[in-house]
Amino acid sequence: MQWRDELPLHLLQARFQTLLLAPEPREEELPLSLKGAGTLGSEGAVNAYRRMVRARLLGVLRTDYPILAQWLGEAAFRAHAFAYIAARPSSSFTLDGYGADFATWSSSETSDVVSAAIAQLDRAIGDSQEAGLPLRSAGATSEGEARLLVHPSVRFVDGEFNLLPLLTAYQRNAGLPRPVRGRSHLVIGHNHAGVVGIPLSGRARALLGSLSLGIPVEEALEEAAGVSPRRLERWFTALAAGGIISFA
């Protein structure tokens, strides 16, 4: 559809906005009568705005859903986020809370129950951080369908950390938590990338131990009472990235 030289303002704005938010705008929808787009060209200029609009909203979702972002990987997370942006654009003057419905939307729009469960876990952690409260409900099991599983290959090593340099030599995942000082614990498991060793504090060890026994997430989280949500988020991120825990 070719735009006339001067569309009425309300029509121009509605059409332009549709272009910015659509997952993949059709070429015929691009405004051909733009002028002065200079080195960018009409399509490039529209895409410059598309990138800015979507990058800002993507950034909010990435911040609010760090475990899901790591779990899916960059490309899949972007695709998932862009679908949400197209389906649920912001309607508020503030970006605070834009991602609040992302978890619910993920549950209703995707057949990928694992991603949906992780999104709910992210949301639960985010809510706790916002309220400044310890995590009370992981949310991941609230539907009764998704469960957090500990990989059957997991073994626990409880001991002093002088063993750590040897064991972590098998690590395949970068950016895992640094060992905590003093007596601590190590969880070792296999995943598709090889052997993974992750140092854990005593409470994280207790939490994972409960999960490995099949205790539901909400109940198991009692082992982590008093742990800051941010720290809990780091544990889950590392454990998920290392293939130590999964959702089913």
Partner: protein, 282 residues
């Protein structure tokens, strides 16, 4: 407008208040002419963030700068936003309230980006009417900023004429962002000197300086780099013609330490009269 302009000529140099600078600002209280608060960062802000203002508000004159007014949108004005903004005005007592000559969304959607308006008579009449209404609601001088642009819709006048006429006909102030003028001039192919020269001096109450990034195909307004030499030259030309105005450095991405931001801002002294240099003398 005359009193507002007079106040602006005395303010000197200011800095946009950003989170990474809170502590350093509170600890050092550098000599600054004024602070600019991003309205959306402070509307309904949690108590722990508001505490920063307890130290800073008594020390510095403040102006508010928003991104959500959407003055050019064909949606109705967002009354909820305006009421919250008005509450913030009562709390912070700014000299003026600025936002952008742009729209951020329609049909109840907010893209959270500053989208360009066509320079048409219809858009001009629309913005003028809304700007008058907003001024009445806020009961504080309204100032609009020229945004950076990456495309231009078909229109019947140049952007500089569009901006100048809106300021005159709505009886509002202008915040002239010289970095935006440079970025848009390169992206859209107009003469930035002519643009600067056409801006009505008696309407300009504030100037923005910022950095941009050259992506090869276009310039991107990132607020993440030092001010470019071309932008300093535009600033010099503007100040030579209209005299000193409240001048503010914006730095939003890769925010450097406060000392570096102040050093960058200090460069503006080269073009300001000696009696105004007090703002950064400390």
């Amino acid at each position: 407008m005359h009193r507002l302009r007079e106040r602006s000529t005395q303010l000197g140099l200011g800095l946009g208040l950003r989170g990474p600078h809170f502590e350093a600002l509170e600890a050092s209280l550098p000599r600054l002419g004024f602070l600019e608060l991003l309205s959306e960062n402070w509307i309904d802000a949690p108590a722990r963030r508001l505490r920063h203002l307890e130290t800073l508000l008594p020390r510095y004159p403040v102006v508010l700068h928003g991104v959500s007014l959407s003055i050019g949108s064909t949606d109705p004005l967002d009354r909820d936003y305006l009421q919250r903004l008005k509450r913030l005005i009562r709390e912070t007592n700014p000299l003026w309230v600025s936002d952008h000559l742009a729209w951020t969304g329609v049909r109840g959607i907010n893209t959270h980006d500053l989208l360009p308006l066509p320079a048409t008579e219809e858009a001009l009449r629309h913005v003028v009417a809304r700007a008058r209404e907003v001024s009445e609601i806020l009961e504080r001088p309204l100032v609009l900023e020229n945004p950076s642009a990456y495309l231009e819709f078909p229109g019947s006048m140049s952007e500089s004429e569009f901006v100048a006429r809106i300021a005159e006909e709505a009886d509002i102030g202008l915040l002239l962002d010289v970095n935006n003028i440079w970025v848009s001039s390169r992206n859209l192919g107009f003469d930035p000197l002519e643009y600067v020269d056409r801006m009505p001096a008696d309407r300009i109450v504030q100037i923005h300086l910022a950095g941009h990034e050259d992506l090869g195909t276009h310039l991107l307004d990132t607020h993440g780099k030092p001010v470019s030499e071309e932008v300093w030259q535009l600033y010099a030309r503007l100040v030579r013609r209209i005299g000193p105005r409240a001048t503010l450095l914006e730095w939003d991405a890769d925010v450097p330490p406060l000392s570096s931001a102040l050093q960058e801002l200090k460069k503006a002294e080269r073009w300001l009269s000696p009696e105004l240099v007090y703002a950064m003398a400390g």
